[in-house]
């Protein structure tokens, strides 16, 4: 290998301008591939993070109440009927405790927590707003949506008689920490709560709508003593949540949905983006490889005499072939290292100059080390592959003829 490497380096250095051009070409290609990959990964990661920031990966719902026809048609009879769907009131999931235990014991599930939630009004004096009252066990819920991180005022705590409300709701109702609000359900149940914390979920609508209280308070407000309207769970593998949900559904017979089903549109948009990214990557790689190949094809012609003389001095066909494969590999390696550095600069520029309305970067864009390593390895391998055809023509070169020219 020492021979191939030494000769390859010298040949590349000898063809200065030519080598420089193709290395810059490879660097540009690698920069585009790396930059686009990192950007799209960042964008998708950000989108998913935002979407799942306030959502559980897997949600167990109570069965819907169905209208059952009271009159069944007997053979030979027709029944004219109009069945209307039933209004869905807050209901508890049957046997939710044993179901939660079973879900928690399933491989791939990280955290499980019960929820008792329903709609209602938050009232303070003259002002009232419609809200979603969510009864939680704070520790369990926090493992699913990291609520504690999102508290901006007060203490993350839901004791009986306390509520955590969003920033916008606090503004709308004009309340701050320690002040009281009344929460009233669609029925006539109502209770007074002290605001213990104000949060920012990163979404104005949710900040206006979500009100967190204890599970017990919610159970009594919605008249489902000891019940849970939903079970939230998180999984280790985000993108196999649908499989986990399907498995659980099959095993327990409960109505279980994953975030992938409730966000199907988002997922298909992300898929389309991923496919476009792959196309860009594929074509850029192809162009860079063709560039390497064409430069090496020319180089083989230019270096015929030298190849011939090296063959005359005892270099084997295989050795000369390796010289050219090595050149392709070196171009790929050097070009990709430069390209990764360039991509890093581009990403830095993106995070410096492309800012959201709040003056912060739109989303985190960084170059993961594993992406850099993979890009470099793939580019080096592609360089070697691109050199395959020129290297084959070197092997076919007749030394006697090569020297004579």
């Amino acid at each position: 290998m020492g021979f191939a490497f030494t000769i390859a380096i010298r040949f590349l250095r000898e063809g200065r301008f030519q080598s420089l051009l193709i290395i810059v070409g490879v660097a540009a290609g690698v920069a585009v591939v790396t930059y686009v990959s990192a950007l799209i990964d960042g964008l998708q990661g950000n989108t998913i993070r935002r979407t799942l920031g306030t959502q559980a990966h897997i949600v167990v719902k109570p069965f819907e109440e169905k209208s059952v026809p009271s009159l069944v048609a007997r053979p030979g009879e027709l029944v004219a009927r109009d069945i209307q769907p039933r209004a869905q009131r807050p209901r508890s999931i049957d046997n939710w405790r044993s179901l939660a235990t079973e879900i928690a014991a399933t491989p791939g599930i990280v955290a499980v927590t019960p929820i008792a939630s329903g709609a209602g009004l938050a009232i303070r004096g003259e002002a009232s707003r419609s809200v979603a009252m969510i009864g939680i066990e704070l520790d369990g819920y926090d493992r699913i949506v990291s609520l504690r991180e999102k508290i901006i005022k007060g203490v993350a705590r839901v004791a009986p008689g306390e509520a955590m409300i969003g920033q916008q709701l606090a503004e709308d109702l004009g309340v701050s920490i320690g002040e009281r609000i009344v929460l009233r359900t669609g029925g006539d149940a109502a209770d007074t709560f002290t605001v213990s914390a104000i949060f920012d979920l990163g979404n104005r609508d949710l900040n206006r709508r979500n009100v967190y209280i204890t599970l017990k308070s919610a159970q009594s407000l919605f008249n489902i003593p000891g019940g849970a309207t939903n079970i939230y769970a998180t999984v280790t593998e985000l993108f196999s949540a649908d499989q986990t949900a399907a498995l659980l559904k099959q095993r327990t017979g409960a109505d279980i949905e994953s975030w992938m089903e409730s966000n199907a549109q988002l997922l298909s948009a992300l898929d389309a983006q991923t496919i476009s990214t792959r196309l860009i990557r594929g074509f850029t790689t192809l162009v860079a490889m063709l560039g390497i190949a064409s430069v090496l094809v020319v180089s083989v012609v230019q270096k015929r005499k030298e190849i011939g003389i090296l063959r005359a001095m005892g270099a084997t066909r295989a050795q000369m072939t390796r010289v050219f494969l090595m050149q392709g590999g070196i171009v790929g390696l050097v070009g990709s290292v430069l390209g990764v550095v360039l991509a890093k600069l581009l990403l830095w520029a993106f995070s410096m100059f492309v800012l959201g309305s709040d003056g912060k970067p739109l989303f985190m864009t960084e170059l993961p080390l594993d992406l850099a390593v993979i890009v470099t390895l793939v580019a080096t391998l592609c360089g070697v592959l691109a050199a395959a055809a020129p290297a084959r023509s070197v092997a076919k070169l007749d030394p006697a003829q090569a020297i004579r020219i």
Binding site: F3, T6, G308, M313, G314, A315, Q319, R404
Partner: protein
């Protein structure tokens, strides 16, 4: 010369080009040739007589069409390409008319190139040996220069040092002085003579220059792809005297 050990023996070697096509031409017709170890031989003949083809076959750069060729007692007819290449690297050194040094490497690196091909790296021993060879061709001071910075005669001296770098018993030189001025040509010829005398290296020199050929031990003349009956230069010289 009968007491010399045999270095190479060719018997009934033929070479045809374009075999199987309407323009098939035989350029070498049943060539018989014996060269002993330590000989200093000139190969002469008009253009198109097959000199270069014969040299390429001797140099294992081209296969012969038929016949037998023993190099150091070993038949090369059925060797694979890799075996031929190894044999070439171990046994043969080349000096070409147009120098054919590698322009990207210094004079010293060119001399060390056969070692790089064999060992994959330049060792200190190779460096010392390369420098001593350059010293012997009077170019120690030019060791770090690239071929482009050297005159034609100097380049050819580097090429001779390189041909000897692996201690090859046979050096094949194709018009080594062909594009040098008389003085440089004499220097290059003297060098080859010196190595022949000091190291016992065998030289086969293809040349157009009768003045040069006369100064060799033996002349092999090729006419229309056949070897003329041998003449001994010194016998001729003696009979002239």
């Amino acid at each position: 010369m009968s007491e010399r050990a045999e270095l190479l023996r060719m018997s009934r070697v033929c070479k045809s080009y374009g075999v199987g096509t309407p323009v098939e031409t035989e350029v070498l017709h049943s060539v018989d040739l014996v060269i002993g170890q330590g000989e200093f031989v000139a190969l002469i003949g008009p253009s198109g007589s097959g000199k270069s083809t014969l040299l390429n076959i001797i140099g294992l750069l081209e296969p012969m069409s038929s016949g037998d060729y023993l190099l150091e007692g070993r038949s090369v007819a059925n060797l694979s390409d890799t075996e031929l290449t190894r044999c070439r690297g171990d046994t043969l050194g080349f000096v070409f008319q147009f120098h054919h040094l590698l322009p990207a490497f210094t004079a010293l690196e060119n001399v060390m190139m056969p070692a790089l091909i064999r060992a994959g790296r330049f060792s200190d021993a190779d460096r010392q040996y390369g420098l001593s060879l350059l010293d012997r061709v009077g170019l120690k001071a030019a060791a770090g220069k690239k071929p482009g910075e050297l005159s034609g005669g100097m380049q050819q001296r580097v090429a001779i040092a390189r041909a000897l770098a692996r201690g090859s018993p046979l050096v094949l030189a194709d018009e080594p002085t062909g594009n040098l001025d008389t003085q440089s040509a004499d220097e290059v010829f003297a060098l080859m003579r010196q190595f022949n005398r000091d190291e016992g290296t065998t030289f086969l020199i293809v040349t157009h220059d009768p003045r040069l050929a006369q100064r060799c031990d033996r002349i092999i003349e090729l006419v229309d792809g056949r070897v003329r009956p041998p003449t001994d230069v010194h016998d001729t010289a003696v009979s002239k005297a």
